[in-house]
Symmetry: C2
Subunit: 367 residues, 2 copies
């Protein structure tokens, strides 16, 4: 078996997990650089306590690399550009590889033009959006990232899921304070949470999912029978049309500006669902942005202003029974610091998947 450094009971060394991930991906034909990029994104998700976008995804990535549904030797290509914008064709590469390159293009554009905006087509599932937005931070830039996804979410008044959980991430640098990193999906609840309740045989509260006819439902199994997740805002009364608007804007930026597939045509991000025929675009779409702080005002003014903003919000009186007001990104940053020290806890299912991949690909000791 592959030698993982075990910190404690079921806690694994992030560096060992990264090496394992790189070794597995290289066996699928990825270059060392692309494998490392992908591993870094997946391990970042684990460290930031977002395991739904971490190593759990590796088996599907590898399945699709091995059956040719994802191109292991993709060479993304710039197909269009202006001083502050660029369109990238991902050549059907692995999402993290394409997304990482796209965000670097956005940063390069911003360096020259003040801001940089990159639309991406022909890509695939890219993991956590926040990872790419945060790439802007060391450059004293604000980073943005969004992408569309499989149609699980029903627009307001729709019986069917037509849009994805379409996440948005925005990373903003500060001075003395840690950066603000907002990273959230535009649906009322995550698919993973619905599935977990389903597995546990627990009902789901009202206002999260609907039946195939668009009626309210409290059955988390409804997604397997044509049901859909509601947009952020839950019902029309509580503003679901606003969550629908956000998901729509993210779909348009990610797919229409790039030439990727939109809404109901977005390809599945898991290997067991078949690809559809006659798609209107190419692959999955992303959209990235970078804005140089000093393209708007002196950086020191902005950074001290952000410190003031963060201290003011963090210092707000908490609601009765709550400990404190959080700044976007606080929970993930705290998890990252903690997990880097204690190691990453892997679920039994993920460990079994990793072992099976090692056996299948003949990975024993890449260190």
């Amino acid at each position: 078996m592959f030698k993982l450094v075990i910190f404690g009971k079921k806690m694994y060394d992030p560096a060992s997990l990264t090496h394992l991930c790189v070794a597995l991906l290289q066996k699928c034909g990825l270059s060392r650089k692309d494998a490392t990029t992908t591993a870094n994104v997946l391990i970042a998700a684990e460290l930031r306590d977002i395991p739904s976008h971490g190593l759990l995804r590796l088996a599907d990535y590898i399945r699709m690399l091995r059956n040719g549904r994802i191109n292991a030797r993709a060479v993304p290509r710039v197909v269009h550009q202006s001083p502050s914008t660029l369109t990238l064709d991902g050549d059907n590469g692995l999402g993290p590889v394409v997304a990482n390159l796209a965000m670097e293009h956005a940063i390069d554009k911003a360096r020259e033009a003040g801001s940089g905006w990159v639309a991406v087509r022909h890509s695939n599932h890219f993991g956590i959006a926040g990872y790419y937005a945060m790439k802007a931070l060391p450059h004293q830039m604000i980073g943005l990232c969004m992408c569309n996804a499989n149609p699980l979410v029903a627009p307001t008044f729709s019986a069917r899921g037509m849009l994805g959980t379409n996440p948005l991430a925005v990373a903003v640098p500060a001075g003395q304070e840690p950066p603000m990193v907002a990273d959230f999906a535009t649906a009322a609840i995550a698919r993973g949470k619905v599935d977990l309740l389903h597995k546990q045989g627990m009902p789901i509260g009202k206002g999260f999912v609907q039946t195939a006819d668009g009626n309210p439902s409290t059955d988390p199994g409804i997604l397997t029978r044509g049901g859909a997740i509601l947009p952020l805002g839950s019902t029309r009364k509580y503003g679901s049309h606003k969550g629908y608007c956000m998901a729509a804007v993210i779909d348009v930026f990610s797919a229409l500006l790039s030439g990727a597939n939109f809404g109901p045509f977005v390809p599945p991000s898991v290997a067991w669902l078949p690809l559809k025929d006659n798609l209107p675009g190419k692959g999955t779409g992303h959209f990235f942005g970078a804005m140089r702080i000093d393209a708007f005002l002196p950086a020191r003014d902005f950074l001290s202003g952000m410190d003031h903003w963060i201290k003011t919000l963090r210092g707000a009186r908490p609601a009765r029974g709550k400990e404190k007001v959080l700044i976007p990104g606080d929970p993930e940053r705290e998890a990252e610091a903690r997990n880097a020290g204690t190691g990453i806890r892997l679920k039994e299912k993920v460990k079994e998947q990793l072992q099976a991949l090692c056996d299948e690909l003949g990975v024993t000791d890449p260190l």
Copy 2:
């Protein structure tokens, strides 16, 4: 009395209302051009069935122009720029005047650099965000607009209102289909709706407002006793942290990138609330964006793609009991077409306000 052309019972000619508005604003020292710009924004809100941002605002605008809290002869000034970005100091002018100019700068920048992004400080309440975003449409550009506002909304876990209802508008051109125009606040409910229930002595549903201690409340009068509106998403369980993230990002873009006041320091947009002292920034902040379609891909491909997107979403099977799935902007566009024909219905209170303003400023017949 001022002669308004009356179409039917209480329905007023939009052109007459515009002339009235221009006449009143000119009496306060505005140039004809700036008065017309402001009138157009307010009348657009009336036509689009958003009367909370229409002529109802004129009395406060005029009160603040007359007592010097808003600068009638403002000369906005570009204080910083890069090829794709610009920072504008609004010179404490009327919001619609400053915002209109800012969006023109964004469009100019986009023409040259592919995209244009304008941060604005020292401005005031600007009416409906969608108006400015839509200015990009005739140029085959996507338009964006956001602004911060008085702190009525409590971040997740906060006892106090710390952020505004911070709206976001995005306008996207299409080919044969009408454009998609998303224009929404990032709070669970509009302040105006809470006030209306309060006036009617009706309770408000759960999950819209909270008490001054951050406890759940169904009393719409709670806002007058230190209560706050909840973010889009309502409670933490339903994703209020996502609405809080959005409001936070909009506050940072509008205030921190421009040097305006953020969160709890945003000046009141009504004349009867006093200005605070020792503010960290200048006035209210806005943020505008324009992206040229053909900076990403050939415009005809995008426009036909948007037509396909709109037809697909509009053609989705409606939920049981619902008539159809709407495209963002459909209700406002339909209202505009209808009201342009039938005239604008004014509430008794607004008519009385207009009459009082005419009497006060000596406006009798500007036509």
